[in-house]
Symmetry: C2
Subunit: 169 residues, 2 copies
């Protein structure tokens, strides 16, 4: 389901993937790895800087197939629990400095949760059942959540996740 | 100095006060205590809710001497290191949900640091030299910092600190 009950203004999706929680953690917190999967092709993440600790920077730069600028920006890490949970927001920059809102834009907080799944027949994941990957985009208002959904939150983050899984296949 | 070098957009002041770091911590993180000092008289903080852990609520409600509403709001705790450091922001609400910016308003992050001072002739502070209290308001832009300074950041936060110290005198 792309949109939770109205009072939460969250977009979320989850999927069990055949990689380990440590690999998902590496994908989200190691900049050279993140650059390989973070943006659905043919767009690319051409630069990234990630300091995975509270108050640290989460910066990405994206480019389209014809060199178009768009997406990315300078955010702030809020929680970093290795191999389990990674939270960052566009509402703040490094050192928790508030970020202005771009004209016509919106802020969101990204909450990534990685939960090992016991047993099962998945082909990877260190012989376990893989890892439950849950991504949540948390917004200030329903209008912001709707705008993010219309931009393709679920499809875009899902395609990017496919690329992350493929890195470790 | 009320304003740091331009690139930081910070307002900050510090003072050695004759109370302990634990008392400053209590003042900032225990809602019933905070209500007694947080707003320079004759304004009052008539309600408060504080969950001093990352992602927790920092909510205050202020009223003027004639019952005027103003100030306060629902913010988010970012760091909570007992007796040492307390960070919260107006840019997020509890659970790190981004907050909209009020018309004509601005967001800021408050950074409170408490550092015990060795020895000295202060009258309190558990027989030590008191505690260095440092308060920083971190802003998105110079205009926001200027607006906060014009609202009396340094005087207001200083008067409030006087009230906090008086609680434990």
């Amino acid at each position: 389901m792309p949109v939770d009950a109205a009072p939460t203004f969250d977009l979320t999706f989850q999927r069990v993937v055949p990689v380990t929680a440590a690999q998902l953690w590496q994908g989200w917190t190691h900049a050279p790895t993140l650059m390989k999967w973070f943006t659905p092709a043919p767009w690319k993440t051409i630069d990234a800087e990630i300091d995975p600790r509270p108050g640290g920077i989460f910066r990405t730069v994206m480019r389209g197939p014809n060199g178009e600028a768009g997406g990315g920006g300078v955010g702030c890490v809020l929680e970093a629990v290795p191999n389990r949970r990674f939270v960052w927001t566009t509402a703040l920059g490094p050192g928790y400095r508030p970020n202005p809102v771009a004209e016509g834009g919106f802020h969101f907080t990204g909450i990534l949760e990685f939960e090992p799944v016991a047993g099962g027949a998945m082909g990877a994941g260190g012989g376990t059942g893989g890892t439950l990957y849950r991504a949540t985009g948390r917004h200030a208002t329903q209008a912001d959540a709707d705008q993010h959904a219309a931009m393709g939150f679920e499809v875009g983050w899902g395609l990017a996740l496919d690329q992350l899984v493929a890195l470790f296949a």
